[in-house]
C-alpha cells in the first residue's frame, strides 16, 4: 500500500525511530483557578441525605456564601414547570423554522447526486432567469468536513470535490419555495464521477477508493467531536488516537494479559445513528449595511456569530444572532453550516432576508450523525475481579468527517494499571458525523460495560459487586455511582435477578445494569446580567439559548432565590447574542456554567438593593433580607413590605449587575479556550428489564430505572425530563435507529422518519428516575449537567439484560430481529 505522505503536519507530531507517530498531549494544563482576592470558605460537600461534610475552599471574595441543601431553599431545587411551556404547547413559541420577515426569500439547495465526483462545470444561467429568483450562489468552500492537511492535492479544482451523495453544491433564493425548488432543478452541474466507498470495512481495505487524496484534519466543534490534530493517515484510515481526551496509555498491556487469570477478547459493532431533532437545521440570514442578523436553530449562538464573522470578514459586533427557541439539538447544531453559508451569501446578493431550512432528508444525510464502530476490546483480570489490562482497538466512520472515536471510558472509568487504546477514523463517502449526546462514550460504554459483565460472570461475581471493587477513582462521579448502585439495586429488586437464560418458553425475561460516565464541563466565558427596575420588576439576561432543556426557567429560579421572589416574577431572557456571553448548549454544561454566573449577578443586585433599602427600613444593609416576595429586617417580621413596594420606595431607575462564571474552586484538570474540564465527572447508573421473543427476535425494554447525579439539581422536574429523554433515546439507539446507505449509489435509503426507525410510544419503557443531590463545593450553585450522562448507559444496560434473559451476548447494535436472531444462533 502506498503511504499517504504526511508533509504538512505542523502541529508538533513527531516521528520516533520505529516509524510510529505519537500525538501531542491533550488539552493544556490549566493555571491555578480564580486569581484575585479570595476568602477561605467552609462549604457543604457530599451527597445530601447520605453524609455531608464541611470542606474549605478558596472562594472569590465577591461571590455569595454557599447555598445550603435544596430542602432549605425556596426556588432552587423545586420542580418548577417550564415558564415557556404555554408558549410551546400553544404554538406561540417562535422557532427559527417559523421566522417570517418582511420581504423574506426562500432558499433551496442543489445537492450532489453522486457520492464522489469532481465538478467540471456549473451552469446557473437558467436558474437565474427563472421567474421569482433573486439570487443564486455556488459554494466555493465546504464546511462540516475534514480538511486536507495539504490543500495542494486538489488545488486546480474550482469547486469543492463532491465526497458524499447529498453534499450541497449551490443555493437559490426566490420569492416562493416553489420557485426556489424549480429553479434549483435548472442548475446544470457537470460531474466527473470518481470511485466511492461507503462501507466502514470496505473503506479500511488497502485498495479502497480514497475519500481524500491525502491526510486530513478535523477540528472539533464546541459540541465536542472532531479529531485530535496531527495524526497519521493511511488511505482512508486516520490514527491511531491513543490518548482520547489526553488520557492513557499506561503500563504494559502484554505483561498485564500474561499476568491475568481471565482474559475476555471480543468484538462489538455499533451502527450510524442520525440526530433527528424535531426542528431541522435552519438559518434565516438578513444582510444589511448596518450589520448581519442571523436567526438560527442552534446549540450555540456564539459559534454562529464567530463563523459568520470569520467567513464574511465582519467584525463580531456586526453580527447578531437570535434564537428564541431551538427545536432540539443533540450535538450537531453548531456553527453556520453549509446551509447557513449559502443563506448569508444569498442574502448579501439579494439584499433581502433568506430562509434556509433543511428538509428531513437533508437533515438525515448532511445534518450530522453518530459514527458507527468496530471495537476489539480485550480485558484481563485476576480471579478476584481486579483489572490487570485493557486493550482497545476501534475503527469508526464519520463519513467525510473525523471524530469517530469511542470515548475515554476505557482508561478512566475503572482502576487498571495497564491500558492501551488505538482509535481510528475511517473516511467513507457519506455525510459528516457530528458530536452526538455523549459522543464516543455511548459506543464505548456499550462494549466496555458488557465485557465487565462478562468478566463478572466468568469469575462468579455479582456485576454490581465487581463494579464496587474496580470503580474506585475517588472522583465525585465514582462516589456518586457507588451510592447509585446501592439505592438503585434496592429499588430495582436486583437481588431477585435470576441466572442467565432462566425462562423456558420462547419469551425470555432478564435484567441488566450498566454505568454511565461523562465529563463535568464548564463554559469559561459565561456572563449574566441581572436588572432590578425601579418598579420592582426583575430581569435576567444571558446570551445562551434554550434547546429544550428549560434554560429560561432555571435562570429565573436562581435569580428568584437570591431576591426572595418566585421564578415567574423574573423576566428570563436568552437567545440574543447581544446579551452577555452564554454557554454552548452542548457538553451538558449550560446549567453548570450559567447558574453560578446568574447567582453571582443576582447576589450583587441583592446587595446593592439592600444598601439602597437600608435607609427606607432604617436598618443596616446587612440586615435586609429578601424572602417570600417581601423585604424585611432580619428577625423583625413586622417590618415586612412587599418587594415591589419596597423597591418603589427606594426611588431608583434601575440597578444592573453583570457577573461571570468563576473557575471551579478546585480548578480544572484541563482547559481549552472555551472550556474547563473538571477532574470530576458525572456518574449515573441504569438498570433495565427486557423481554426477548426468541422466535421473532423482538426485544422489548419493559422497565428502566435511571439513578443519576448532576451536582445540585436546580430543577428536579426538568432534570427528570432530561433523563427520560436520555433513556428513550438510548432505547431507540439500542433497538431501532440505523442509517442505511445503498453502497452502489451512496444514497441514504431511509432518510425519512418512516423507515428510519425511532422508538414510539409503545416501545417506551416505564422509566423511573432517582436523582441524587450531590454537592461538590465547586461553584456558587454547585450545579452540573445530566443531558449526556442520561444517554450513556442505556444501550449497555439493555444488552446486559438481553444476556441475562437469553444467555447469549448481543454485540451488534441495533438489536433488530435480524441481529437478535443471529446473536441467538451464535
Amino acid at each position: 500500500m502506498q503511504d499517504v505522505k504526511d508533509t504538512s503536519d505542523t502541529r508538533g507530531a513527531t516521528t520516533p525511530a520505529d516509524g510510529q507517530k505519537t500525538q501531542e498531549a491533550g488539552p493544556a494544563k490549566p493555571p491555578p483557578p480564580n486569581p484575585g482576592p479570595a476568602r477561605q470558605q467552609a462549604m457543604p460537600y457530599g451527597i445530601v441525605g447520605q453524609r455531608l461534610e464541611q470542606v474549605t475552599r478558596r472562594v472569590p471574595v465577591d461571590e455569595p456564601p454557599p447555598l445550603p441543601e435544596n430542602a432549605k431553599l425556596k426556588s432552587i431545587g423545586k420542580p418548577v414547570s417550564r415558564l415557556d411551556g404555554i408558549e410551546k404547547v400553544t404554538g406561540r413559541a417562535r422557532y427559527t423554522f417559523d421566522v417570517q420577515l418582511p420581504g423574506m426569500l426562500w432558499g433551496q439547495r442543489v445537492l450532489a447526486p453522486l457520492p464522489h465526483a469532481r465538478i467540471k462545470s456549473i451552469d446557473t444561467s437558467a436558474a437565474e432567469r427563472y421567474p421569482g429568483v433573486r439570487a443564486v450562489h455556488v459554494m466555493e468552500r465546504l464546511l462540516s468536513t475534514a480538511k486536507l492537511r495539504d490543500p495542494k492535492a486538489e488545488q486546480g479544482n474550482r469547486y469543492p470535490t463532491v465526497r458524499y451523495a447529498g453534499q450541497p453544491i449551490a443555493g437559490v433564493a426566490a420569492d416562493s419555495p416553489r420557485a426556489a425548488e424549480a429553479a434549483a432543478r435548472l442548475i446544470k452541474v457537470e460531474y466527473e464521477p470518481l470511485p466511492h466507498v461507503t462501507d466502514l470495512e470496505e473503506a479500511m481495505k488497502e485498495n479502497a477508493p480514497r475519500v481524500f487524496p491525502g491526510p486530513t484534519e478535523q477540528p472539533s466543534t464546541a459540541g465536542g467531536g472532531g479529531a485530535p490534530p496531527g495524526l497519521p493517515q493511511k488511505g482512508n484510515v486516520r490514527g491511531p488516537d491513543s490518548k482520547p481526551l489526553g488520557m492513557g496509555p499506561r503500563g504494559d498491556v502484554q505483561r498485564g494479559f500474561a499476568e491475568s487469570d481471565v482474559v475476555i477478547d471480543v468484538e462489538y459493532r455499533t451502527q450510524v445513528q442520525t440526530h433527528v431533532p424535531m426542528e431541522p437545521h435552519g438559518l434565516v440570514a438578513d444582510w444589511r449595511d448596518e450589520g448581519l442578523t442571523l436567526y438560527a436553530s442552534t446549540q450555540y449562538m456564539g459559534s454562529v456569530r464567530d463563523e459568520a464573522a470569520e467567513y464574511f470578514d465582519l467584525p463580531k459586533s456586526k453580527v447578531r444572532v437570535i434564537c428564541d427557541y431551538t427545536g432540539g439539538g443533540f450535538g450537531a447544531k453548531y456553527g453556520i453550516g453549509n446551509f447557513g453559508l449559502l443563506a448569508i451569501h444569498l442574502s448579501r446578493k439579494a439584499r433581502a432576508p433568506v430562509r434556509m431550512v433543511l428538509d428531513r432528508r437533508e437533515e438525515h444525510v448532511s445534518g450530522g450523525n453518530r459514527p458507527n464502530s468496530i471495537q476489539r476490546l480485550k480485558l484481563g483480570a485476576k480471579k478476584d475481579g481486579s483489572l490487570v489490562a485493557i486493550q482497545l482497538k476501534a475503527w469508526g466512520s464519520g463519513g467525510v468527517a473525523g471524530g469517530a472515536g469511542v470515548g475515554f471510558c476505557h482508561s478512566t472509568l475503572y482502576e487498571c494499571p495497564n491500558v492501551q487504546m488505538e482509535q481510528y477514523d475511517v473516511f467513507t463517502n457519506a455525510g459528516p458525523c457530528a458530536a452526538f449526546r455523549a459522543p464516543g462514550q455511548v459506543q464505548g460504554i456499550f462494549g466496555l460495560e458488557q465485557s465487565i459483565d462478562e468478566l463478572a460472570e466468568r469469575i462468579g461475581m455479582d456485576p454490581l459487586a465487581l463494579r464496587n471493587k474496580i470503580d474506585v477513582s475517588r472522583t465525585d462521579d465514582a462516589v456518586a455511582r457507588a451510592h447509585e448502585r446501592r439505592v438503585g439495586a434496592e429499588k430495582f429488586g436486583w437481588s431477585k435477578r435470576r441466572p442467565a437464560g432462566s425462562d423456558k418458553g420462547p419469551i425470555k425475561r432478564g435484567v441488566g445494569f450498566a454505568q454511565s460516565q461523562w465529563l463535568y464541563l464548564v463554559h469559561r466565558n459565561t456572563g449574566c446580567e441581572v436588572r432590578v427596575l425601579g418598579d420592582g420588576s426583575v430581569e435576567a439576561f444571558s446570551g445562551t439559548q434554550d434547546i429544550g432543556t428549560g434554560t429560561r426557567t432555571i435562570l429565573a429560579q436562581v435569580v428568584a432565590e437570591e431576591l426572595g421572589l418566585r421564578p415567574e416574577d423574573i423576566g428570563a431572557h436568552v437567545g440574543d447574542s447581544r446579551y452577555p456571553p452564554g454557554p454552548a448548549s452542548g457538553g451538558s454544561r449550560v446549567t453548570s456554567s450559567l447558574t453560578p454566573a446568574a447567582r453571582n449577578a443576582a447576589y450583587r443586585c441583592a446587595r446593592d438593593l439592600a444598601s439602597r433599602l437600608a435607609p427606607v427600613f432604617q436598618a443596616s444593609a446587612d440586615d435586609i433580607v429578601f424572602a417570600d416576595g417581601k423585604v424585611m429586617v432580619k428577625g423583625k417580621a413586622s417590618s415586612a413590605m412587599p418587594f415591589r413596594d419596597a423597591v418603589k420606595k427606594a426611588g431608583f431607575n434601575e440597578i444592573a449587575h453583570r457577573a461571570e462564571r468563576r473557575d471551579d474552586y478546585e480548578g480544572y484538570m484541563a482547559v481549552t479556550p472555551e472550556m474547563g474540564i473538571s477532574r470530576h465527572g458525572i456518574g449515573g447508573v441504569q438498570f433495565a428489564e427486557v423481554a426477548v421473543d426468541t422466535e421473532t427476535g423482538i426485544v422489548k425494554v419493559e422497565r428502566v430505572l435511571a439513578v443519576h447525579d448532576c451536582g445540585r439539581p436546580i430543577n428536579p422536574k426538568l432534570t427528570e425530563s432530561q433523563i427520560y429523554g436520555g433513556v428513550i433515546q438510548g432505547v431507540s439507539y439500542a433497538l431501532y435507529e440505523e442509517r442505511h446507505l445503498d453502497a452502489g449509489s451512496g444514497h441514504q435509503l431511509n432518510a425519512n422518519v418512516d423507515q428510519y426507525k425511532i422508538v414510539g410510544s409503545r416501545e417506551t419503557p416505564s422509566i423511573e428516575v432517582i436523582l441524587l443531590e450531590q454537592l461538590g463545593a465547586q461553584s456558587s450553585t454547585d450545579a452540573r449537567g445530566v443531558a449526556e450522562p442520561a444517554n450513556v448507559a442505556t444501550a449497555a444496560a439493555v444488552a446486559n439484560a438481553f444476556y441475562n434473559a437469553t444467555g447469549k451476548r448481543i454485540r451488534t447494535l441495533p438489536m433488530t430481529p435480524a441481529n437478535v436472531l443471529a446473536a441467538l444462533r451464535a
Binding site: 447526486p113 451523495a165 416553489r178 424549480a182 422466535e695 421473532t696 427476535g697 423482538i698 431501532y736 442505511h740 446507505l741 445503498d742 453502497a743 452502489g744 449509489s745 444514497h747 435509503l749 431511509n750 418512516d754 423507515q755 426507525k757 422508538v759 414510539g760 410510544s761 409503545r762 416501545e763 433488530t816 430481529p817 435480524a818 436472531l821 443471529a822
Partner: protein, 329 residues
C-alpha cells in the same frame, strides 16, 4: 412538489371520464384519502398534471352485510371505520385486525380501503426519486443492496413487495373488487388477481386500467364454523411496516378443519397463499405439532436474498402462532 390541477369528481362516471384524459407526461390521477398519493408527490416519484378527488362521490362509503351476499365495502370506507364496524369485527375479525394494525390512527382516519389496495410499494429504492432517474437494473440494485425488508419468495423478477396489509386478510377471505370503467362497464376481479408484482417502471401495480375506478370490495359470507386470526409482525409496535403479516381463516367442524386459507403478506411481490400448508390442515384437528408442520410447509421454497433470511424464520413463527390463534378464536 410540482404544481397540479385539482378537480372534485361528483360521480363515478365523471371520475372515469376525467381519468380517461390521462396522457403520457400529463398524468391524471385519482385521489381518495391521499395518504399514498401525497407521499409519492412530495417524494418526487409522481408528478400528476391533474388530481381527481373522489371523496365527494356519493354512495362509495357504505358498509353492508347480508347473510347471503356477504360483506360489501364501498371503496371510500376508511381503515378506521373497518376496524370499528361491528359487522366486520364480528364476522371478519382478520380484516378488522388488519385495518386496526395498519399505519397510525391519523392515517387510518384518512386512508380508504380502495386507496389502500392500490397504494404503491414501500421499497426504499422505489420511494427514492433518485432511483427513478438513475436508470439501471432495478432488481440487481435490490439484490446487491439493502434488501432486508424485501421478498423472500418469488423474487426472481422483482423483490419489491406490495404494501397493503389489509390485502393479506382480504386474500384469505377470498375477497374481490368491483372495477368500473367508461360507460359504466363493470367487472369483478378477485384480490388475488388484482395485484401484480410491483414494477418501478409502471405507473401502477394492479390490473386496474388508467380509466377505471375501484368502487367496491366484497367478501363472501363466511360458512358456519369459520374462525380467523391475523398478525402483523413489525419491528416496532407503535407504528411500523411489517416484516411479514399473516391472515388465517379456518372453517372448523368441531375441532377438525374443513377448509383453510393462509395468506402471507410482505414476503412475496404480492400476498401469497400457503397452499401446501393449507392442505396439511384440512381434515385434522389443530394442535401445536400440526401448527409447527403447517408453518414449516408455509416457508418451504423460500429464496431469501443476501440480507433477509431472518424473515423466513420470523414468518414461520408467525404462521404457526396465527394458525393456533385462529383455531382458538
Amino acid at each position: 412538489m410540482q404544481s397540479f390541477e385539482w378537480v372534485d369528481a361528483e360521480s363515478v362516471e365523471q371520475a372515469v371520464t376525467l381519468l380517461g384524459e390521462s396522457k403520457d407526461g400529463r398524468p391524471v390521477v385519482a385521489k381518495a384519502g391521499g395518504m399514498d398519493l401525497l407521499d409519492l408527490m412530495k417524494g418526487g416519484v409522481l408528478s400528476p398534471h391533474r388530481v381527481v378527488n373522489l371523496k365527494g362521490i356519493k354512495g362509495l362509503d357504505g358498509v353492508r352485510f347480508d347473510a347471503r351476499q356477504g360483506l360489501e365495502l364501498g371503496a371510500l370506507v376508511t381503515l378506521s371505520r373497518i376496524s370499528r364496524e361491528p359487522e366486520v369485527r364480528n364476522r371478519f375479525v382478520a380484516l378488522s385486525e388488519a385495518a386496526e394494525h395498519a399505519a397510525t390512527p391519523q392515517v387510518r382516519n384518512a386512508a380508504t380501503i380502495g386507496g389502500n389496495l392500490l397504494q404503491r410499494p414501500r421499497c426504499w429504492y422505489f420511494r427514492n426519486e433518485h432511483f427513478h432517474q438513475a436508470g439501471g437494473d432495478d432488481l440487481a440494485r435490490v439484490r446487491d443492496g439493502q434488501n432486508q425488508y424485501h421478498a423472500i419468495f418469488d423474487n426472481q423478477r422483482t423483490a419489491m413487495v406490495h404494501a397493503s396489509t389489509p390485502a393479506t386478510a382480504l386474500l384469505a377471505y377470498g375477497a374481490s373488487v368491483e372495477l368500473v370503467g367508461p360507460g359504466g362497464k363493470t367487472r369483478t376481479v378477485p384480490v388475488s388477481e388484482l395485484l401484480l408484482p410491483p414494477d418501478m417502471k409502471r405507473p401502477r401495480d394492479t390490473v386496474l386500467a388508467p380509466n377505471e375506478l375501484l368502487t367496491r370490495v366484497r367478501i363472501p359470507a363466511p360458512a358456519a364454523g369459520t374462525r380467523a386470526a391475523y398478525h402483523k409482525q413489525g419491528e416496532r409496535e407503535s407504528y411500523d411496516w411489517p416484516l411479514c403479516d399473516v391472515a388465517v381463516v379456518l372453517q372448523l367442524d368441531g375441532r377438525v378443519v374443513r377448509q383453510a386459507a393462509i395468506a402471507m403478506g410482505w414476503v412475496a411481490p404480492t400476498p401469497r397463499r400457503a397452499t401446501e400448508a393449507e392442505k396439511l390442515l384440512v381434515g385434522r384437528p389443530v394442535d401445536e405439532e400440526l401448527a409447527r408442520q403447517v408453518a414449516k410447509a408455509a416457508v418451504a421454497g423460500a429464496t431469501p436474498l443476501s440480507k433477509n433470511a431472518y424473515k423466513v424464520s420470523i414468518l414461520e413463527t408467525v404462521v404457526r402462532r396465527t394458525v393456533l390463534a385462529a383455531a382458538k378464536a
